[in-house]
């Protein structure tokens, strides 16, 4: 289980490969990998968005992301999880969050990955402030599923 908060841009696919390379105990054991990547759009709520600042409450964010990873591993039979979440200044097309779940079977990884993103959106203390052509504005709520 790994949770990292990053102040700089990252390549989610490279992160997955690096994690697998550095965890040889996974080799031959996982038959399913579920991945969620959240990416910044250049539009929201009817307006073009040129950039975004992601504020967070560092210690509480780390704690809650670790908590939801532990909860997922208690609910489903999974081998490992990886969460990377950005903070700071973000540009359109940059990844915001990467969630990965490894297990022997998809019946475990798919609901576990879904659980991680929904719980993260509900509980992890991050706040988005968007910059549009004419203003900056705080995003007041997440988009429902």
């Amino acid at each position: 289980m790994l949770v990292e908060l990053r102040g700089n841009n990252f390549d989610p696919w490279q992160e997955i490969q690096q994690f697998q390379n550095s965890h040889p105990e996974l080799t031959g054991k996982f038959g399913a990998t579920s991945v969620f990547v959240g990416t910044m759009r250049d539009f929201n709520d009817g307006k073009d968005v040129s950039s975004m600042f992601l504020e967070h409450y560092p210690e509480m964010t780390q704690k809650y992301l670790e908590d939801i990873s532990t909860e997922a591993s208690q609910k489903w039979s999974i081998l490992d999880t990886l969460i990377i979440h950005r903070y700071g200044e973000i540009q359109p097309d940059d990844p915001i969050v990467l969630l990965v779940v490894w297990s022997a079977h998809r019946a475990q990884t798919i609901p576990a990955c879904s659980y991680l993103i929904e719980e993260l959106k509900m509980r992890a203390p991050f706040w988005k402030r968007e910059t549009t052509k004419n203003q900056t504005r705080w995003v007041e709520k997440n988009t429902p599923v």
């Binding site: 504020e55 509480m60 964010t61 993260l120 992890a124 203390p125 991050f126």
Partner: protein, 77 residues
């Protein structure tokens, strides 16, 4: 010691402060901390509270050395 109070995101901007401290003898609950830290203002709807980095209710007790945070609904991911 004292109670450390933190404000985040739009709430921090509205109040124009990010951190302050409150004397524990004056505050018994999280909402007491809010009133003291904001000079008696009403606790706003939809504001979330964390005590020592766990979500809490407004009437939850606070103690010397606690960190109490106030913030709007979260929008990560």
């Amino acid at each position: 010691m004292s109670i450390t109070v933190k404000f985040f995101a739009s709430l921090r901007e509205t109040l124009n402060r990010d951190v302050c401290s409150v004397e524990p003898s004056d505050a018994h609950t999280a909402v007491d901390v809010w009133r003291i830290a904001t000079n008696g203002s009403e606790f706003p709807e939809n504001t979330l509270i964390a005590i020592n980095m766990d979500y809490a209710k407004p009437e939850q007790p606070v103690a010397d050395g606690d960190e109490v945070a106030f913030f709007p609904p979260v929008t990560g991911g």
